[in-house]
Structure formats: structure tokens, C-alpha cells
């Protein structure tokens, strides 16, 4: 949380996550190069310079596919939430691996003294009108620029400056970059190498990523249909106390569809915005830990009483008035109170 600026807020989990990720990346890159050399027929052993391009390229593609799969997997099953916790570091690693792929390509041309060819290839206007023969290196460079922008803006400093909705909208550019990455391979490597493994792997990997997102979206749409939405700004019935699992929340929606998380902590009931102040994570899918509402994405916490983060943190959530009807039904007023306003009630 934002208690002063730090370049990287390390903790034990992040260190372990990063060490495992770096080791796996190094093992993949070296393992790929050694396996390719060992499996090549005699007399056709590929040069290290060629292998570096393939090793870093396939590694970057796999990493970005994994990163893009973590979000929908975490929405489909909470067992994947620990992977989501430090996904940004994985994203930065993917950018570095993609940049290494770019450097390996540049180095290949430097070794052959044909660097001007890259410039010629990318500035030949006629090729941009073609489909087969489109300068696929331009697509790769464009993807790399998108990854760089996202890596540069990934820090919480930029998240705070840009605000979560804008920051998230910028980071959605990764979806477009991923589509372009598939075309970078389809119009590049797939046009030169006729191995059936290339189109098969491309379809299986990118198809799995797309399918996971679509399945998660369908599940989310069904969940949305089941949420009670207030028809007007009047009080909205949430249910009896027993309808809300202890330490968990029931989600309702204000007119317009923005969600409200109604949490129960024993006999205390409080309603807060479903949007975590950090990355707009789904607070209502989290739980109450140590008396605080805890976001399932990155563990940011807020007091149930007033939606304020515990000291020394200063984040505040919008809260909503709660009341108990004579028949025991809990009601919430969907008009938000200013962030940090105490609104929770204790039922006797």
C-alpha cells in the first residue's frame, strides 16, 4: 500500500516468485538451445546465433501467454490467485526476454554485416500493402514498444498518478499486442519454416489463452445476471444476516451496474465499493482477515467500519449506508457516502 514511495516493495513472497521465474526462464532458454542442437541431423546443426533468436522468441511468447492466462484462471479458480499476486514482475521479465529476442535478431544481422537490410526491409512501402510478405519485424517492434510502455508504467507510482481505470485501460493494450504477436509468428517464422509444429503450437497456445478469457467472461456475465441491481436510488434489500457468509461478502449492484460489496464480520455489517483502491480488484470476492476487508488480488486491506486502510496507509473506499428492517432484512442505500465515512452497523 502507499505508505511512502519505494522503487520495489519487496517481500519474501515476491523474492521467491521472482527467483523461481528467473530460474525457469534461464532453464527454458538454455534447455531449448541445447535440445535443438542435440536433435538436429548431422551437418545441419543450427548456429548459436540462430538458436538465440528462437529460444528468446519462443520464451517471450510462452511467458506472455502464461501472463495472459493468469487473470482468467484466477477468476475461474481461486487456487491461481497466488500467481496473480506478482504478475507485474513476470510482465517485466517477459519484456526483457522479448527485448533479448530483438537484440538477438539485430546481432544476427551485425554478424553478417547486413544491418542496412533491416532498414530496407522495414521502409519498403510496397511490402506494407502485402499480406504475405508484410514486414513482420515491424509488427515485432511495435509489440516491443507496447511491452516497454507497459513495463515502464507498471509501478504503483504510475498506478497512483494515472488512477486505476486509466492505468488498466492502458494495460489492456497487451491484448492487442498479443494478437499482433501471433501474426508476427504467422507472417514470419511460419512462412519460412514448414514444420507442422509451428501452426499447431500457435493455435493450441493462443487458442487456450483466448478460450480461457471467453470462459471467464461467460462466467462473469452469468454472475452479473444473478446480482440484484437497484432500480433506483432507493434502499435495496440484501437479505437476512444468515444470507451472508461470515467474513465474506454478498455483492449487489447500484443503478448503473457498479458493484457494492456487503461484508459481514460476526454481527457487524458494512457496505463498501467493490473496487479496491489499488487496481480496482474485486473486493467482494475477498474476505475479512484480522478484522479488515482484504482484496483477493494483492492483499490491500480496509477497515469494515469506515473503508479506511489501517495506519500507516491512507487509502479510503466509498461506503454505503446500511440499515436493518423490522423483519430482519438488511438494506443498503446505493448512493455512496464520501470515502472513509463510517457506515457499518452492529446487529444486536
Amino acid at each position: 500500500m502507499s505508505a511512502g514511495f519505494q522503487a520495489v516493495q519487496w517481500n519474501r513472497q515476491k523474492v521467491i516468485y521472482d527467483i523461481i521465474a528467473i530460474l525457469l526462464i534461464a532453464a527454458y532458454v538454455y534447455g531449448f538451445m541445447l535440445a535443438m542442437r542435440a536433435s538436429a541431423p548431422p551437418g545441419k546443426v543450427p548456429a548459436w546465433a540462430d538458436l538465440r533468436i528462437s529460444a528468446f522468441g519462443t520464451c517471450a511468447f510462452l511467458l506472455i501467454s502464461i501472463i495472459l492466462s493468469i487473470g482468467p484462471l484466477a477468476r475461474l479458480n481461486s487456487i491461481f490467485l497466488p500467481l496473480l499476486y506478482n504478475r507485474r514482475h513476470l510482465g517485466i521479465m517477459a519484456f526483457i526476454v522479448a527485448a533479448m529476442h530483438g537484440y538477438a535478431v539485430l546481432d544476427w544481422f551485425i554478424i553478417r554485416g547486413s544491418v542496412p537490410w533491416i532498414w530496407h526491409e522495414m521502409t519498403n512501402a510496397k511490402d506494407y500493402a502485402k499480406f504475405i510478405g508484410f514486414p513482420m519485424k515491424s509488427i515485432g517492434i511495435f509489440c516491443l514498444i507496447i511491452f516497454f510502455i507497459m513495463a515502464a508504467l507498471s509501478h504503483d507510482y504510475w498506478l497512483k498518478v494515472l488512477r486505476p481505470p486509466v492505468w488498466k485501460a492502458i494495460h489492456m493494450a497487451i491484448y492487442v499486442a498479443y494478437g499482433l504477436l501471433v501474426m508476427h509468428v504467422a507472417l514470419g517464422l511460419m512462412q519460412r519454416d514448414y514444420s507442422p509444429a509451428i501452426p499447431v503450437l500457435l493455435v493450441v497456445i493462443s487458442g487456450t489463452v483466448a478460450l480461457l478469457h471467453i470462459i471467464a467472461a461467460v462466467k462473469e456475465r452469468n454472475r452479473e445476471a444473478a446480482i440484484t441491481t437497484a432500480a433506483s436510488d432507493s434502499w435495496l434489500a440484501v437479505g437476512q444476516l444468515s444470507d451472508i457468509t461470515d467474513k465474506k461478502a454478498k455483492i449487489i449492484a447500484a443503478p448503473g451496474g457498479e458493484r457494492i460489496a456487503v461484508f459481514r464480520d460476526g454481527s457487524k455489517i458494512g457496505a463498501v465499493s467493490n473496487l479496491c483502491a489499488h487496481q480496482n480488484g474485486p473486493l467482494g470476492e475477498g474476505e475479512i482477515i484480522d478484522g479488515c476487508i482484504t482484496c483477493p488480488w494483492h492483499g490491500w486491506q480496509y477497515k469494515l467500519d469506515d473503508g479506511c486502510s489501517p495506519p500507516p496507509f491512507a487509502e479510503k473506499l466509498e461506503t454505503f449506508p446500511v440499515r436493518l428492517r423490522d423483519d430482519g432484512v438488511i438494506e443498503v442505500n446505493p448512493t455512496p457516502l464520501p470515502p472513509g465515512t463510517p457506515a457499518a452497523i452492529t446487529l444486536s
Binding site: Y178, G256, N280
Partner: protein, 65 residues
């Protein structure tokens, strides 16, 4: 996530999947056909052809098997 973000997220993935699927299919269909390697003569035939050519050169006569 805000409602607008959720909605755009759903739309983007459906559109992206369709566009990339079309692009990939076109890239696969329009791929230039693979050049077939020239069929090489069996080694024994190559040896015989070379030897016959050598004999013809030395003898000055046409040699047939």
C-alpha cells in the same frame, strides 16, 4: 473492475479472437507452397554414370551398359 472495464474486456477478447483467427487462417492458406527438394539419384547410379563418362572420354567411344 469497473462495469465499463468488464464490458470492454469481454468485447475485446471476442473481437480479437475472431480477427486473429481470420489472420492466422489466411497466413496458413496463402503460404507459398513448399519447394520440393530435387530427387537425388541413388548413389550407385551416380557412381556408374561418372565411371561411364570417364570410360567414354578415355576410349573415345560411346559406352552402354
Amino acid at each position: 473492475m469497473k462495469r465499463a472495464h468488464r464490458s470492454s474486456h469481454r468485447l475485446i477478447w471476442i473481437v480479437l479472437t475472431l480477427v486473429v483467427a481470420i489472420g492466422f487462417t489466411m497466413a496458413l492458406v496463402k503460404r507459398k507452397p513448399q519447394k520440393k527438394k530435387k530427387a537425388q539419384a541413388p548413389a550407385i547410379e551416380q557412381v556408374l554414370t561418372t565411371q561411364i563418362a570417364g570410360l567414354e572420354q578415355v576410349s573415345g567411344r560411346r559406352v552402354s551398359l
